[in-house]
């Protein structure tokens, strides 16, 4: 079993929809939870990260961490066609020797 499991998708939604992207994990020692966006044939870019449990908001994006359930989510409000990309969750321990563990990604298409 993988340490990080991500909803596989693909996901297709109409413009303006609220999108929910989700990951589960098995290692309770993970402390930082990240979301990356990757456009086709490009490198991933960090959208946001959260430390431990709770919510973090950045514009139309909200990251949510529930450590008791080992479940994280990324919500996109008022989705736009420019949000069409693959979204990767990743996690890391709270140590400078930590190595990021990534989910496999969910491909999102937002249709105009």
């Amino acid at each position: 079993q993988k340490e990080v499991e991500q909803d596989p998708g693909p996901l297709s939604v109409p413009e303006g929809a609220i999108v929910s992207l989700n990951c589960t994990y098995s290692n309770s020692a993970f402390q930082y939870f990240m979301w990356y966006r990757q456009y086709s044939r490009k490198g991933p870019e960090l959208l946001m990260y959260t430390y431990s449990s709770g919510n973090k908001e950045d514009g139309r994006f909200t990251a949510q961490v529930d450590k008791s359930s080992k479940y994280i989510s990324l919500f996109i409000r008022d989705s736009q066609p420019s949000d069409s990309a693959t979204y990767l969750c990743a996690m890391i321990f709270n140590t400078n020797a930590g190595k990021s563990t990534f989910g496999d990604g969910t491909t999102l298409t937002v249709k105009p």
Binding site: Q6, Y32, M34, R41, K42, G43, P44, E45, L46, Y49, Y51, L88, A90, I92, N94, T95, N96, A97, G98, K99, S100, T101, F102, G103, D104, G105
Partner: protein, 113 residues
Amino acid sequence: DAGITQSPRYKITETGRQVTLMCHQTWSHSYMFWYRQDLGHGLRLIYYSAAADITDKGEVPDGYVVSRSKTENFPLTLESATRSQTSVYFCASSESRLPPREFFGPGTRLTVL
């Protein structure tokens, strides 16, 4: 140009050949990373480096060699390429390990025939 660059962007080679993928960053970031991305496996860490002359294995290091004599460069060498090493390779860098703020390069698409 400022940022992180990778070369070549595309490479086709044959089984058994040695291949070196280059990575260069202009930020003087301490940390650099090599990942591979395959369908169905997401990103997997091959090697990383905390500073010049300091490297450590990641999740899938077998068949790869790295060096880091200068802070800005982190080449990845496939000593004897195999078909299973066909993948997209991403280099990344960050100023510190935590909080996580990795910047990724554009990737090298490698095909081993």
